[in-house]
């Protein structure tokens, strides 16, 4: 596992402590313009499409009219305004937040474990959050209504804590392979527990399935307000650690020689990434795949340094999830597809395409 492509390319990236060489400046501009362009375009597409037939012109007028000092009126009815502002737009914004968080957490997990397959699924975070959410849903009543995010968060933290403790005990905290193996075991255990709870309370089976398949919330702006504090903390901390992740990619011994404690870095990054992941998983359900394909696609196209990998993963992760959600609500309109189905269905071929292109380029 240590001889994976990621690790190789990561360690061949420029030495981290040194600032980026100047010749890269132009490429860097291209990078950022393309990332922000893709993000802006997908946000607009997300805002434009949906089963309710709102014209792009009216939507632009609505958006412009909401800016301070701009006085334009769209021809949307009160009902259409409600659809746009309270249903569609929060969903687009939530999609962007969820996508960005899953992608950046995935990139952080992969960096910290030096394992290209590390993601919330592999480390047991999703299984733990799934168990927590299932317990909350099957309890019904007010717990089923409001407790899902909290239970999911607790479940995710407990699972990743178990993974970490197991990995640290068995592998002395040194081997990332051991941690990933511990994650697989923990995930299997929590999935089994989740299935058991789900079968035992079979009267809420539908609600549980619905959550497991993933769906961007129908809760207006509330969910966004609920998760934003956790997500922001997670983003900021991961950003602060992006250079240290590059150091860690070289090796634990090298990291320690620079006076940085690799075990401590790993602990902080894992906890932070888990905080962000469980927060979004709690409101969106289990949306797989984003945490793996987006960071890898960014690595293949733009290189493996975490300094650029983390922010670009966020931008492309957000764009990807906004677009897949647009597909989820339009492909079979006026019915919906679970977004987890769409991410995998569109994501897998897309990733294979990037994989092929990436190999050709390198």
């Amino acid at each position: 596992m240590t001889s994976s492509p990621t690790t190789r390319s990561a360690s061949s990236a420029e030495p981290v402590a040194a600032p980026a060489p100047v010749p890269g400046r132009r490429r860097q501009v291209v990078r950022w313009v393309s990332a922000l362009g893709v993000l802006a375009a997908s946000l607009l597409i997300g805002a434009f499409v949906g089963p309710a037939g709102l014209s792009p012109k009216d939507i632009l007028l609505e958006l412009a009219g909401s800016l301070p000092f701009v006085d334009v009126q769209s021809s949307l009815t009160a009902q259409q305004q409600a659809i746009f502002w309270q249903i569609r737009l929060p969903r687009v914004v939530l999609g962007a937040i969820v996508g960005a968080t899953l992608a950046v957490s995935g990139a952080a997990y992969q960096g910290v474990f030096r394992n290209p397959l590390a993601d919330p699924y592999l480390l047991g975070v999703s299984a733990g959050a799934g168990l927590g959410a299932t317990i909350a849903i099957t309890q019904g009543g007010s717990i089923g209504h409001f407790g899902v995010p909290i239970f999911a968060f607790v479940g995710g933290i407990v699972a990743v804590g178990a993974t970490y403790a197991l990995g640290a005990t068995v592998g002395g905290g040194q081997s990332s392979t051991v941690i990933v193996l511990a994650g697989v075991a923990v995930a299997a255990f929590f999935s089994a527990a989740q299935t058991f709870v789900q079968q035992w309370f079979d009267d809420s089976l539908q609600a549980v399935y619905s959550w497991l398949l993933g769906r961007l919330s129908t809760n207006g702006w509330t969910d966004i307000r609920v998760i934003l504090p956790y997500v922001l903390v997670s983003w900021v901390v991961l950003f602060l650690y992006r250079r240290i992740l590059d150091v860690l990619a070289v090796g634990d011994v090298e990291t320690a020689s620079l006076g940085i404690d690799p075990a401590r870095v790993r602990l902080i990054v894992v906890l932070t990434a888990t905080l962000g992941t469980t927060a979004v998983v709690a409101v969106s359900g289990l949306i797989g795949f984003v945490g793996i394909i987006i960071p890898h696609a960014v690595r293949l196209v733009f290189g493996a340094s975490h300094r650029i990998l983390l922010p670009l993963s966020m931008a492309f992760g957000a764009a990807f999830l906004v677009l897949t959600d647009a597909a989820a609500r339009t492909l079979v309109a006026p019915a919906e597809l679970p977004i987890g189905v769409v991410t995998a269905f569109l994501g897998a071929p897309f990733f294979l395409f990037v994989l092929r292109r990436g190999r050709v380029i390198s």
Binding site: A82, A207, A333
Partner: protein, 342 residues
């Protein structure tokens, strides 16, 4: 021996899946069982027993007709089971069948019902599961007939090895299917006459409920199965009940394999239903107040006019004799609408 043909038969039926009675999703009570049942249920459109008398292959009159051959499986199935003598140790693993058994006077022949059979109260409820049946647990009761909605081949063949016939009465997709299954239960338990009476009584009450209610032609409705906006189309059994009153389903535009699509929230708001029926109110799922507070929903006519009705999840998810209650409830709700004939 006929049981041997069940597996192949089932496989054929799966291919004809056209949508069963209610509730893959709603039946808060036993959704999983019905999901399973749905898979096999169906194909009723083709065969919905136009003449109710033909349904059971009843060879005898009253209780003296044993041994009797009864069709098992979906309506129109050609698999039959043979019941040697009038059963007096029946186990029902289907809440719908439990309700029917008691309604046709076969209640004293029932020794155990599954954990979801909550009606009538005198039914001998046990912890047996119809969703994940355990053959040994069932045989522990020494039954002479098992009735189930889930066509689970493993269970059926397990029971048949012990000499216990299993009558499969899966979810149905129309009223004729309901009547057909009631008559089959009548034939299997020696209550042919009372089952026929029950059916004609049900038909009469439904006619009465429909003619008593104002026709709500053109009034649109949304039937919420769960808070993630799963719903029914007109093609489903529930949809047919609303259709009796002229109500128009907003979900009919949605593509769906079995009549139970999940709608997009913005579509529901845009479609602007005049009435909302909540089948998910019972388990903290939704309440009229909560629906009214959903972002953007205050613009919906049903919310503005406070035309949000809560349904009993059992009545709206079972295909037994209380289907009539469901029809009557909808009729009563329709009578309250301020939009009728508008």
């Amino acid at each position: 021996m006929q049981l041997g043909s069940v597996p192949t038969r089932s496989a054929a039926l799966v291919l004809q899946l056209t949508g069963g009675f209610s509730v893959a999703y709603s039946s808060a009570r036993r959704p999983a069982a019905v999901v399973g049942a749905l898979l096999l249920a169906v194909a009723l459109a083709a065969c919905g027993s136009s003449d109710s008398q033909t349904a059971p292959d009843a060879t005898g009159e009253a209780s003296g007709g044993f041994p009797v051959q009864v069709v098992t499986g979906a309506v129109g199935s050609d698999s039959t089971i043979t019941i040697e003598q009038k059963p007096d140790a029946i186990i029902s693993l289907s809440p719908s069948a439990t309700e029917t058994l008691f309604a046709i006077g076969a209640g004293d022949q029932v020794i155990a019902v599954d954990d979801q059979s909550s009606y009538p109260a005198e039914a001998p409820r046990t912890n047996l599961s119809g969703y994940q049946p355990n053959v040994e647990a069932i045989l522990n009761y020494s039954p002479d007939l098992v009735v189930t909605a889930t066509p689970d081949d493993t269970t059926i063949s397990g029971l048949s090895k012990a000499g216990v016939p299993t009558l499969v009465l899966p979810a149905v997709s129309d009223f004729d299917g309901v009547y057909n299954e009631i008559e089959r239960l009548g034939a299997a338990t020696g209550h042919v006459e009372s089952s026929n009476e029950l059916v004609s009584d049900m038909r009469a009450r439904i006619d009465q409920a429909v003619s008593a209610a104002p026709q709500a032609v053109g009034v649109t409705y949304f039937h919420e199965l769960d808070p993630s906006l799963y719903t029914v189309t007109s093609e489903s059994f529930i949809g047919q009940v609303y259709g009796l009153f002229g109500l128009v389903n907003i979900a009919d535009a949605a593509p769906s394999g079995g009549g139970y699509p999940q709608l997009s929230e913005e579509f529901v708001v845009e479609a602007n239903p005049d009435v909302i029926f909540l089948a998910d109110a019972a388990f903290g799922g939704a309440s009229p107040e909560e629906v009214a507070q959903r972002p953007g929903w205050s613009q919906i006519t049903a919310v503005e006019l406070n035309q949000i009705f809560v349904l009993d999840p059992d009545i709206s998810s079972r295909w037994g004799p209380r289907v009539v209650d469901f029809v009557e409830n909808i009729g009563a709700d329709v009578s309250q609408l301020s939009l009728v004939a508008a």
